[in-house]
Symmetry: C2
Subunit: 305 residues, 2 copies
Amino acid sequence: MSLLVVGSVALDSIETPFASHKDVLGGSASFFSVVASALTPVRMVAVVGDDFPEEHVDFFRQREVDVEGLQRVEGRTFRWSGRYHENMVDRDTLDTQLNVFQDFKPVLPDAYRESEYIFLANIDPKLQLQVLEQVRNPKFVACDTMNFWLQGETLESFRKVLASTHAVFVNDEEARLLSGEHNLVKAAAAIRKMGVERVIVKRGDAGAQLHDDDGIFIAPAFPLEGVADPTGAGDSFAGGFVSYIANRGRLDGATLRQAMVFGTATASFSVEAFSLDRFKTLDLPQVLDRCAKYGELVRFDPISL
Amino acid sequence: MSLLVVGSVALDSIETPFASHKDVLGGSASFFSVVASALTPVRMVAVVGDDFPEEHVDFFRQREVDVEGLQRVEGRTFRWSGRYHENMVDRDTLDTQLNVFQDFKPVLPDAYRESEYIFLANIDPKLQLQVLEQVRNPKFVACDTMNFWLQGETLESFRKVLASTHAVFVNDEEARLLSGEHNLVKAAAAIRKMGVERVIVKRGDAGAQLHDDDGIFIAPAFPLEGVADPTGAGDSFAGGFVSYIANRGRLDGATLRQAMVFGTATASFSVEAFSLDRFKTLDLPQVLDRCAKYGELVRFDPISL
């Protein structure tokens, strides 16, 4: 059950109505791998610059994330800065500096090519395709994307990615953009017709929906008394989801639904602190406890009249 | 199990990106009573003008809604017109003509004073208080409101209503306004401290949450392939919710959760057609079938690792 993630490692500067932090650890591969490593060994392919603090690499290593595929090159690390609105859901991107990420070429160390589970985080679909060409016989591939790629040439590439993956994560807007359907049920059905068996629609604080052969499964977000920083919630969700599947080694509908719940619980911890801070103290029993509480949130007896 | 509703009966003019309809039957008391009458006898207190089509009153009667409390006075019926955005959730009010509703005084026919279950739809809280003064010994009172009332003198009155009711329906914005808390978990807790045991937060297409002594219950919205007209969804939800409780004659937590699901199923039918049209063909087995399907949407096996 070897799990490979290819994505970004970044330094984020984040403002919320309540606090702000500069140059904290961020990036899709960071969130995904730290989360997923709780359930399964993770291999990371990403790039950082020579300014990237060694303590973050140590943190990955402590979580037993294999960083052989983490390239360190001359230049500055990818930086993103954003400001959250008062609702702690909507945000404005203030600045994006691709820096060393601009010329990122995902090169898989030999050992990584046999990875059974793959997560292609939100990067240029052309790079996602390069990863798929390097892996030998994956059991389960999931991919993420963003609105920026869903047009022109990169959209063509992403459609090829879709046809080679088993699950795709999209938010409402991306689902609509990709499918041309406003209604999310129709949008998910249209995306499934593009060749991907499972569509997971992420709806922020409204939770997520899994669309697969079993129909629709809805996982509302775990209600929290406070959200410190929503950054990385989607990648934490994906990390919980894919690592649960890798851990169980099963792809049946029941396991997929459990993976949705595990991902939801994981994402709910992610937003409780800035950056990846919450994961520094989080342990598996806490996540399982929240999964059990989650069951109570949606449980009801059959309707009888 | 006598159920009394006091609210508005209106003629709505509605535009969506896909269609528009002029002067169709609307109003909180209309949606609530037609929905609720499927499970329990309903008594309606509202007012219409002399222009109100008799066919609508016949429709209420066919549904065995007691219209003795439906006042008919000289003048024009309350009119509302609105336009929905492309997301079919947000809307702009284009025009509100209170007309005969301006001088509405809820007067309960004698027989209504013994009603056991009461729904105070969104009207001036001072009128809601007048209703409470007229009923003798209700078993369960639920109320709705809107942002407009949650300030100044009417807010004072609404706080008195809250202290005399067993459940309140609020949307996100109203919950925040009423409590001064942005976070919905904190907002619901603060509202419960105002004297109302159960807070139901309606979140549009994200569903609804029940906050009570048992904790939080989340009912995501039923996913639909098409929404024709969201108007009245909240009152249909309330109609399903309160009538389920009246039908069962129980107020325990398990029944309340079932009522949330029954209300969610009912609301999902409401939005499938303009005005109250969907209820002209809907029967109880269809609603129960959707409740069963709903169970499948949120069902998952316990997480095991």
